[in-house]
Symmetry: C2
Subunit: 214 residues, 2 copies
DNA sequence: GCAAAAGTGTTTGAGGTACACCCATGC
DNA sequence: GCATGGGTGTACCTCAAACACTTTTGC
């Protein structure tokens, strides 16, 4: 069933960069492509926008179809549209960013994807299309925008230690932080509260567990 | 000559929000639409993306065709694509922001536009499509991103008084500033230098003229 | 007892904010 | 001489950065 226009139209896709903190490091959800082009390579989950579907809704749907994830807040990163970025036809993609707490992440490979998996952003495999460039921009955006408050409320699991939180913030900002200054800022932010539980995980003093406040 | 696809494709346009400072106030370039839809209403200049043309290049070309302006730096604001934003067909638009010094602004109406004109952002006419919403986002982005340095180098004319510069910054940030604090910051920034000329324009002490440094 | 991470305050410097008066001009 | 905008400096406060030792545990 063909669709006809009197001037050429590009295809429009949406892609969703899902960030999470795994093992104290910034990570991203990728799917392995099953089909040409770039079959076997890893890619940012996404797909074509329905003709009567908003961009954000398409992003939510595609993420769910390809990874099983239900995105919370989706923030638009921007549009990427170099003429040669897809060998099939002219494709313009609108990229969204989503944040997920690792303990809510249950990845299931969808029909379009052979596999879905978390990768550390500093250990990425070879990526399909211009997805390496897109991910670079996404990480940059994250660095610029995400503050400690945001990390606590959107990336950390239900309970965590202050050192884990600090590692997460450092892996996003890329810079090491002083422990006492970090905790002083947390006090000022009033963003976390102790759960009362502790975590014992080695030959050292147990760590108090915290949760996001409110 | 028809173009056919096996699934429906949206049309993709680019729009360019050109900001300038006019009379000390933040202003934007709009064109009056000549044709349906929204004939007679004012709109952000823009048009369809060529099938082998990058988004930024399309933005530059459309701005030139519709207003005669050659954009300097173009920053992408994002994509807007609600399904019902254009009555002709599904249209997804990618919006760019450009800054222009008023003394370089020579507006010429192009073929697609009955007229091109500067409007103060706080005295906008009724706008076509969802352009009011887009402009709102563009102004917000400008407020978030543009610092004094950027205003000096990209929005001010070749020579200007410090009060004019302060008015410009205030009209972008939306907040009044203390004159002495503003000038102290300018000294710290090392962004302007006196031209040696003065401007006489009323029953008061003449103002020293400055230019952007470097 | 020793290795390993948890936890805890003070000092300093930079930058931002608040604030009031004299100056040069046109009329 | 008066109305109008141009031009100038100080005091305070807030926030970020630097910095070292004690505590609790497993082995």
């Amino acid at each position: 069933m063909p669709y006809t226009y009197d001037h050429p139209h590009p295809a429009v896709t949406v892609d969703v960069v899902v960030f999470a903190i795994s093992d104290g490091r910034l990570a991203v959800v990728l799917i392995r492509r099953a089909q040409w082009p770039h079959a076997g390579k890893w890619a940012i989950p996404g797909g074509f926008v329905g003709i009567d579907e908003s961009l954000k809704r398409a992003a939510w749907r595609e993420l769910r179809e390809e990874t099983g994830l239900k995105a919370g807040h989706l923030e638009q990163l921007g549009a990427f549209g170099r003429p040669d970025r897809d060998p099939r036809e002219r494709v313009i993609t609108v990229v969204y960013i989503s944040l997920a707490a690792v303990d809510r992440l249950r990845l299931e490979a969808g029909s379009d994807a052979a596999d879905a998996k978390l990768f550390f952003v500093d250990e990425l495999p070879e990526l399909a299309f211009d997805h390496a460039r897109i991910l670079g921009h996404a990480v940059e955006r994250l660095r610029d925008r995400l503050d400690t408050q945001g990390v606590v409320q959107r990336l950390m699991p239900q309970s965590f230690t202050l050192t884990e939180l600090q590692r997460a913030c450092e892996s996003i900002s890329g810079a090491p932080t002083d422990k006492r200054n970090f905790r002083k800022k947390l006090r000022a932010l009033d963003a976390v509260e102790p759960t009362g539980e502790v975590r014992r995980d080695g030959p050292h003093r147990p760590a108090q567990l915290y949760r996001a406040k409110r």
